[in-house]
Amino acid sequence: MPTKITMTVNGQSVTKEVEARTLLVHFLRDNLQLTGTHVGCDTSNCGACTILVDGNAVKSCTMLAVQADGSEVTTIEGLSQNGEMHPLQEGFREEHGLQCGFCTPGMIMAAVALLDRNPNPSEQEIREGLEGNFCRCTGYHNIVRSIQYAAKKINEPKKAVAS
């Protein structure tokens, strides 16, 4: 029995009919063609499917689309603003925080939430903050650097933007 759901995804309101069992990640990928959110496991460990729901990082493979009815959802596709990369996207590029790119969207979304709560994390706090995200390519070394890069950029006085 399909259910009608409405949510705001990357700033746009969408209304669709879904089966109750449709996972949020499948809803994003199949119904909205937002294939940047990936599925890396089936036990809620790897974090490749991490997105923001109402500002909180969640694993979209462990949430039903119907549970997100009425929510505000942000995926990797909604992160850049006005064609400008988010400091984390920039950081991952500058510090070579990605290789195959598969874990990257989930990793970045988890990092967005991490910096949101702790704008000045230590290396250890970054490493612990990423416990819900697996990367098999980078050994995490450059991911940590990428997040440090972004933290620095976010915390810089906004004079560059103002001028």
């Binding site: 790897c46 596709e77 990605l98 790119g101 697996f134 070394h141």
Partner: protein, 789 residues
């Protein structure tokens, strides 16, 4: 600025990945696409008495269900292997059929039995639950050693004692035995190099698309090796015409070896699509991936190393049982033999070496190349022997290595080093990497700290590992003689467009390695044009002439060299055109900074103008063809031989046995470096995987052949907080036989790191006596038990 080689150029591929616009196989949706779900054996070994699909066929959305019987009746050959290793007595290795779906009997937990094809993923999954299979469970065997014992269950009736082959390399056994007799000290280790699961973050997926109107087949697949997949698919499995088959490996989310091989699902999707006249997609779940992706390692070895009084190595004797799994995967026979036995010289002047390997079938998923493939196993064996010998002989493990290293040679002035096990090393200065690593670690200071810590009851340990690997696989004639059923050259095509922009087609495949950047750097640098004017195209058999894929750290050494060959041809032809336009002779021209200049003058013509002339040949040299497009096949003269020294420092919790990796130092020599940022990244990733094997990872089959840790709830993947920041450096000894002087960096980290960590734990446990039979992964309980014993 067009000087790109050696610069940490930011990756050109990143933008799409960072914005969620990567295009992986499962992202692709084709019109009219159907979805496949594969029903798999829950048993490691079982007869299929009957399959009843009648209820499932009536389920909503089900289009068709095929079983192993349908496959058998259509007369399809199974999946072949790409390498032949014969028995010592000359008999051909056992190569039992490997059907796309089994009809009579399942031979490992996960063996495909039936495929349900439905209008949606959900409907295919629902219907699969309604298939009734009458199984008759048979006794199973999972251990390579047990499988060879008399009376063990037989995986294939045609392979007595489950032996696929037995194989020997090195000096005659009698010579080695004789040398051992003269040894002052012999260090012996018996251990398992455990089975690990590659776990690329993207699971495998395949879409088969057959278009009736054109007779064309397209396979989208998560492959490191699209052309080889096409060749195997067409020539061996389905017998379909290769010129009508296109294999596309789009963005691929990591491979680490597991995506080199041609898998049954790829052929199955094409076969189903041909019958149903609609595209069919299969995407593996992670649980399915654990059961069906080829695993790595799984050697049971006995290794003995003999030393004289001064600690000089006299001889090495190795006996290995290598688990191959239930069927032969693409490179399976090659990994424990030619990629393992040949590396047992290591960095040492061991005068006598004999290695004996038995390849064994078991009721487990296939075992094949995993990052390093054979070389990590060889390195683990040697480096555990070295540290253990040092402990037993009360010598310093670093000193023992320095004493036994092969002296430096550059492969130009001094010849390459001929080993006892078939290979000839290209160039190396092994003392330099270890000395640099010791310096970085602050070795003397550490030993003092360690002594202090021990007084306080703290368990600090340091472990070493030095390694060499054979990469840049490989000279075709050599590998052909060793049993490869294909050549191992690479193809590089450079197409200069009329406006001077350059499209480069490579048979190497990038799935994280950054070819689109590194290769573009090589091209832009050589042609003296902006990086942005170069596009690297890979992974599509319709675009690229041919290719042997990416594995064995071969892309730049072999694939890059093929591109360089084509670039040379472009520059040579360009010179003819330039000479004509400049009214000078070719010999008077020089090519630099993207232009041909008449030596000693300011008369020049830019690359772009020459390109345009080649395509608009109004005023053109006689006898020269229009256009600028060259393809080259590069077949290397030898393997390349990266090497390095790794050092781990650990602290073991005395109460729990938990190991904390505190520092990891790696000094690698991968030859010349095109993009240091990318090389560093490759090293980091390899280190994490090697450390993972030492401390966390290991596939566990119980004695009934059930994989009992087939999910991330039970199989430990290294996480960010399990690892320290890595301290890495390198030395540069160029490869003397390829035009770029590169050796390869993809596997280095994974090869050197595992034994360093294990050795460090053993060193930490030194106050409890000399511990050597601790099995990987070094779980807290195992370490704790050692402290109790």
């Amino acid at each position: 600025m067009t000087n790109y080689i050696g610069k940490a150029v930011k990756r050109v591929e990143d933008k799409r990945f960072l914005t969620g616009k990567g295009r992986y196989t499962d992202d692709i949706v084709l019109p009219g696409m159907l979805y496949a779900y594969i029903v798999r054996s829950p048993y490691a070994h079982a007869k299929i008495n009957n399959i009843d699909t009648s209820r499932a066929e009536k389920m909503d959305g089900v289009v068709k269900i095929y079983t192993g019987k349908d496959i058998a009746e259509s007369g399809i050959n199974g999946i072949p292997t790409g390498w032949q290793v014969n028995f010592k007595n000359g008999d051909t290795m056992k190569e039992p059929p490997h059907p796309l779906l089994v009809a009579d009997k399942a031979r490992y937990m996960g063996d495909g039995v039936a495929v349900v094809i439905a209008e949606s993923r959900e409907e295919a999954r629902d219907a699969a639950d309604e298939i009734d299979i009458d199984w008759e469970e048979l006794p199973a065997v999972a251990s390579a050693k047990k499988a060879t014992e008399d009376g063990a269950p037989l995986v294939h009736d045609e392979a007595p004692n489950n032996k696929c082959f037995d194989w020997e390399l090195g000096n005659p056994k009698e010579e080695v035995d004789k040398a051992m007799k003269q040894a002052h000290h012999i260090t012996t280790l018996e251990f398992t190099n455990q089975r690990v699961v590659p776990n690329a973050m993207e699971t495998r997926a395949a879409i088969g698309q057959y278009e009736e109107a054109t007779g064309k087949y397209t396979l989208y697949t998560t492959s490191q090796n699209p052309h080889l997949t096409r060749l195997l698919l067409c020539a061996f499995v389905l017998g379909i015409p290769e010129h009508r088959v296109r294999v596309v490996a789009p963005d691929v989310g990591g491979g680490f070896g597991s995506k080199i091989f041609h898998y049954a699902e790829e052929a199955l999707m094409i076969w189903c699509s041909e019958r149903l006249k609609r595209p069919v997609k299969w995407t593996s779940d992670r649980s399915e991936a654990f059961m069906t992706d080829a695993h790595g390692r799984d050697h049971i070895s006995k290794a003995e190393m003999g030393f004289d009084k001064e600690g000089n190595v006299l001889a090495l004797r190795v006996k290995t049982h290598a688990n191959l799994g239930a069927y032969l995967s693409t490179f399976a026979p090659c990994v424990p033999t030619w990629l393992h036995g040949t590396l047992l010289q290591g960095l040492y002047v061991t005068p006598k070496i004999n290695v004996d390997v038995t390849g064994v079938f078991t009721n487990t998923v296939m075992v094949d190349a995993y990052r390093g493939a054979g070389r990590p196993e060889a390195t683990y064996l040697l480096e555990r022997l070295m540290d253990t010998a040092a402990l037993e002989m009360d010598m310093d493990p670093a000193e023992l290595r320095l004493k036994n290293f092969i002296p430096p040679f550059d492969g130009v002035e001094q010849p390459g080093y001929q080993t006892q096990v078939a290979l000839q090393y290209d160039s190396g200065n092994y003392h330099a990497v270890l000395k640099r690593a010791l310096e970085m670690v602050g070795y003397e200071k550490f030993r003092k700290e360690q002594a202090e810590a021990r007084k306080e009851g703290k368990l600090l340990g340091i472990g070493f590992s030095t390694y060499i690997e054979a990469c840049g696989i490989a000279p075709s004639a050599v590998v052909g003689a060793l049993g490869a059923r294909a050549g191992l050259y690479e193809v590089g095509q450079v197409r200069v467009q009329p406006t001077g922009k350059v499209s480069v087609f490579t048979g190497a495949h990038s799935h994280g390695q950054g070819h689109e950047t590194t290769f573009a750097q090589v091209v832009a640098d050589r042609l003296g044009i902006p990086l942005d004017d170069v596009e690297i195209i890979h992974g599509d058999s319709d675009s690229v002439a041919f290719g042997m894929g990416t594995y064995g750290s071969r892309s730049l050494a072999v694939g890059g060299s093929a591109i360089v060959k084509s670039l040379d041809k472009i520059i040579e032809k360009g010179a003819k055109i330039a000479a004509h336009k400049l009214e000078a002779s070719e010999e008077d021209l020089e090519f630099a900074e993207g232009k041909w200049t008449v030596k000693g003058t300011d008369k020049s013509i830019a690359f772009g103008d020459v390109a345009l002339t080649a395509y608009v040949p109004h005023d053109y040299p006689e006898g020269v063809e229009p256009g600028m497009d060259f393809s080259s096949f590069y077949d290397p003269a030898n393997f390349t031989y990266p090497y390095g020294a790794h050092v781990a420092i650990v602290e073991v919790d005395k109460d729990t046995g938990h190991t904390k990796l505190k520092r990891f130092i790696a000094v690698d020599d991968v030859g010349n470096v095109i993009n240091p940022m990318i090389v560093d990244g490759q090293i980091h990733g390899g280190l994490a995987q090697g450390i993972g094997q030492a401390l966390f990872e290991g596939a566990m089959y119980d004695e009934d052949g059930q994989l009992i840790n087939g999910s991330y709830m039970d199989y430990t993947m290294p996480r960010a907080d399990d690892l320290p920041s890595f301290e890495i450096d390198r030395t540069v000894t160029p490869c003397p036989h390829n035009p770029l002087g590169v050796k390869g960096a993809g596997e280095a980290g994974c090869i050197g790191s595992t034994p360093a960590v294990v050795n460090a734990v053993m060193d930490a446990l030194r106050p409890f006596g000399i511990k050597k039979d601790l099995e990987m992964p070094l779980t807290p309980e195992r370490v704790w038990r050692h402290m109790q014993s």
